[in-house]
Symmetry: C2
Subunit: 648 residues, 2 copies
């Protein structure tokens, strides 16, 4: 790998979510998010709220909870008490990252000034030797690096590095990048083949160091990341040997996604970052095996991952409980981060499908529609007690959502030697620089995910030869592509692939993509015991749920689908920020007979009685934005309800 | 309440599990377990193993893990380091209790000597002021009573009191009772209306103090227990106000079983003990409401309770996951303890039904058949990874099983003014002293729970007028009772009640009880989402399961019952200590089509395919005593398998 320092620090078309432009194994190259202006009604309103509501609120909460004062203290004012938990610096760093990506697209003087002040505050807290962690100051200074397993010291540094890289890519400023290289150099002076063994109980430093290597052109940061990756699974262990922090086996021998889900996914993202630079086959094998285990055994239909409250961990294969799904918002975000990196190495639609599934369901359910409240856990069924909160003592999720939303346009397109890749669909205008040096302007017009047609218009100076890679989601049976209102001869539009449109494109050419939005009912592998006899309602990338607010006095946990369902989709612009609701005739399973019983003999003489009921399903992400009440994603389905004419 | 010290300390017919003889609200009085000799093939072999294998092994493990050395240290040898966790004393106390109950029935010089030595060791560790806890010695002495919420200090004292009461009742010796009264007095000197507020984060002291009051005739220990009960749910809280330790509400206002299950059930047992002495209506109301919530919303079909690993806690209503059932063995035992106390106050078969259901399933599953290995958690489904262990760092469960098995005969009979109560069924010979002063010898002959006939023979000096109260379990539809081979005219044998046989009994009278052991399939309330479309196989008091060891290469998670099942029961004397297996024709749900998929469109073109398979069910308690493999209690049932002639 060869790196070169970016020549022009002021340019802002370097706002790459992950900069794989010079990564030897990257088949895709990023497009700066500053080149993409979302104009849609799904994501851009969320991003506007992120900028105008969420970022100011999170700044305010960081200040009020002592997170900023902790830096003032570390800068030398020992009269300020340390407040909060030892990993609280990382929340500030994620806010910095979110603010940086925001400024890459939407310059705002007040935010820029606030960001500069926070960065100055962070810089002021750095020691002369480069060390920076506000918890390990004054009386705790002697404890530095003494408990890597539990105290998130390198994790916090990793988020600082990520924030600094984002800030540099987004603004061209080096103020935080300088802080980052100094702490990275401090870390390298402590840990390494010639220094101490050790790595962090909570991965994050690995991917961050590799991004720092990409940003600075310094291969030593990549080597440092490789060292940390290789420290896991040693005998005797340098951590505690526990699967909880993925220290049970060397990374290259890990075959099952186990332990704390966010830790695992940040680690896997770091592993893929390392693979993108080194091409090491053993890392490639491990990431593929782990990805298959995760997606084929341990992923909720929402894209959420991490089934257990106990240890915030993955469960066993097929262990996917609904009410007690932990599915931390951060784990969904980490899954997006990892799949994006995998996609760079191997541009296959299966990774993008996971990204889209996770974004539309598992990630954005983590935030209220007004951008002020958050879920830490995202269950798929509830009795009405699980409600979003404005903040948490462990506040990892809120700024994680903020940084993802701020950087979201960076996930829409890639380029490669062959041309342009379309990953996600929402109205936008994008300037895509081809490797040839030409820039193609793409205008995407669609009301996706509500409507099924996507129109792409290409603008350029003159005709260009390149391939347009159009992602057809795996669910999009019957998808069609037209160019200039004409079918493309011999083109197979296969779901779950990138369809290649290779031609000489003319200025003004139009591509029309139709992704049929039939309502689909999904069933689970039979070993997912919690979903037996149940189906999930899905339309396009959106998983739906039933919420009590739409069903009056009928408990949505008692609603059963019959074998034949005719669905009606209704656009409701005023409801829950504008959604499409789904409607059908269903049945209420009458419960009176159970009074006071928990168990009873099966088929006790009489058939289950049902009452017809009109069902309304809303997108899962939109739940818990109205009055509290039961919610359910996986609905019982009884093929034989229709066969009981006496059921009413 | 009036108490009087027992007059004859040498008598051993005072080995009462709970001594309610002078409790004003007790409608039942206990029978000393020394009066009951089990001669059956179900319980007595377990009790023999308990005495010959388990107690020696637990002594050895207590020694090896430092639990006994901790007392040597506390006795003054500061060169011995404290080992283990702050609550480890309680394991020794439970061993003392188990050994005491054992000696009440089966004198054994070696065990008695070992017990006396352990008691001497415990006594040697007591401070002059009565304080005794080996953790809070030397450098930690200043921390005594400083953290009642977390450090189990009163909990350990409670187990000492229970052990001392058991030892006194079982052996007549006062050696440990003297230690107990001194620590109880020490506690009373610290906590109380005139002293400090506070109570223990882990209940246990409450029921223990009331039993000490009963044993010593000292009402002040009852008052101390009441003080501790009343400390919960104060505003501001004396603990932490958390439901985890039942401090969220005053006990009298608690309506839902929440928080740590063992803590809750020990507290409820203490509440019922208090009610038995005081008759306070508010306590009676609370215990009834809590019991209904627990049994109608939060109890597994095995009698196990406490659904969540997170916090070892009850879940929400109907939250009863199978693979991730926590169902701590100690919680099942605590449920037996509480229901036994409730039964004393209100002799209704519903409480005994819970006791029997829990004993035969949730409790004894906690131990291996050889008495050497233990489950802490008792899931109702597993993939083969959950295996019993010889010991735990937190070793509450092993000696808890030991003390329950040792005291088990004490749960078989009660007396009341009206006569004799038969609670449990297993061959035994019992001497039951009537309140009139006469002693009735009962010979119970049965092969229950494997066979359905129970024969009771009464022996006495001369004819006696009294009522025999015969428990008919709620599941025993079609139960019959005969006296001297004759039906009893006008007798209604109603399941779920104590049938009253009131007459002048003659020496040699025989009662025959038939409890039909039809195989029953149970279904769960529809809000138990994990059991939807599933049934549990139950025969008599035993819940059955499928274990991999009986099914070759067929995954028992893929076995489905059809709508019509004909069951065959086979007595297998050589299998798993002697069991009855259940057999039927079932179906294997063929899984090949799912390769690599976690979700797929429902009814994807073809019907589910089934292969016929011979099913073998074993009692749940016997699982995990052979090679590891999948296990399942709740089996899918498909009414319509038979309707698919092409299914093979």
């Amino acid at each position: 790998m060869t790196f070169s320092r970016h020549s022009n620090p002021q340019q802002q078309d370097t706002a790459f979510v992950v900069d794989t432009r010079r990564s030897p194994q990257a088949r895709l190259h990023p497009v700066s998010l500053s080149n993409i202006q979302l104009t849609d009604t799904f994501w851009q309103p969320r991003r506007d709220i992120n900028q105008t509501v969420t970022l100011p609120q999170q700044y305010e909460l960081s200040a009020r909870t002592g997170r900023l004062d902790n830096f003032r203290r570390a800068a030398g004012d020992s009269s300020i008490p340390f407040r909060g938990i030892f990993y609280n610096d990382s929340d500030v760093y994620k806010w910095v990252e979110a603010a940086s990506w925001t400024l890459a697209q939407a310059p705002e003087a007040r935010l820029e000034q606030q960001l500069d002040e926070v960065i100055a505050l962070i810089a002021s807290a750095q020691d002369d030797d480069g060390y920076l962690n506000t918890y390990f100051t004054f009386e705790r200074q002697a404890e530095r690096w003494s408990n890597l397993t539990d105290l998130h010291e390198l994790y916090c540094a990793g988020h600082l590095l990520q924030a600094a890289v984002a800030h540099h890519r987004a603004t061209g400023k080096t103020s935080l990048l300088d802080v980052a290289t100094r702490i990275a150099d401090n870390i390298a002076s402590v840990f390494g083949p010639q220094g101490r063994p050790g790595t962090c109980g909570h991965p994050e430093i690995e991917l961050a160091l590799i991004e720092l290597a990409r940003e600075t052109g310094e291969p030593r940061y990549l080597q440092q990341a490789q060292f940390f990756i290789d420290q896991r699974g040693q005998k005797p262990p340098v951590l505690n040997g526990s699967p909880y922090c993925q220290d049970h086996l060397p990374v290259r021998e890990q075959q099952e996604a186990v332990g704390h889900a966010v830790r695992a996914l940040y680690l896997y993202a770091g592993v893929t970052d390392a693979y993108l630079e080194t091409g090491e086959a053993a890392l490639d094998h491990a990431q593929e095996v782990l990805w298959q285990n995760l997606t084929e055994r341990k992923t909720y239909v929402t894209g959420g991952v991490g089934s257990r409250w106990e240890g915030e961990a993955f469960g066993e294969n097929y262990e996917l409980p609904n009410e007690r799904a932990y599915t931390e918002t951060c784990a969904a975000i980490a899954s997006v981060m990892w799949n994006w990196r995998l996609l760079q190495a191997r541009p296959e639609a299966r990774f993008t499908d996971v990204i889209e599934q996770t974004l539309y369901n598992g990630v954005i359910a983590g935030s209220s529609l007004d951008g002020k409240l958050y879920f830490y856990q995202n269950p798929l069924a509830d009795r009405g007690k699980h409600r979003r909160q404005p903040w948490f003592d462990t506040a990892c999720c809120p700024p994680n959502i903020a940084r993802l939303l701020a950087s979201l346009p960076g996930y829409f397109y890639s380029t490669s030697q062959e041309g342009i890749w379309l990953h996600l669909y929402a109205s936008n205008t994008a300037q895509i620089p081809l490797t040839s040096g030409e820039t193609i302007t793409i205008e995407q017009q669609t009301n996706y995910p509500w409507d099924e047609e996507i129109r792409i218009k290409l603008q350029m100076q003159e005709a260009q030869d390149f391939t347009l890679f159009v992602r057809i989601p795996a669910w999009a049976t019957g998808a069609q592509i037209q160019v200039n209102q004409q079918a493309v001869e011999g083109l197979a539009v296969k779901p779950g692939t990138y369809v290649q449109l290779k031609r000489t494109w003319q200025p003004g050419d139009e591509i029309t993509i139709v992704l049929p939005l039939e309502v689909r009912l999904l069933e689970s592998h039979p070993h997912v015991t919690s979903n037996r006899g149940r189906v999930a309602i899905v339309r396009g990338p959106l998983v739906y749920c039933l919420e009590q607010a739409d069903h009056g006095s009928i408990d949505v946990w008692d609603i059963v689908l019959s074998g034949q369902t005719q669905w009606e989709a209704q656009a409701q612009k005023q409801l829950l920020g504008g959604i499409v609701t789904l409607h059908t005739q269903a049945y209420e399973q009458v419960q009176e007979e159970w009074q006071g019983q928990l168990y009873r003999p099966h088929n006790q003489g009489k058939q289950q009685r049902y009452r017809p009921v009109q069902l309304t399903a809303i997108p899962y992400y939109a739940w818990a934005n109205r009055e509290a009440g039961p919610m359910q994603v996986w609905l019982p389905l009884d093929e034989h309800i229709q066969a009981h004419p006496n059921s009413r």
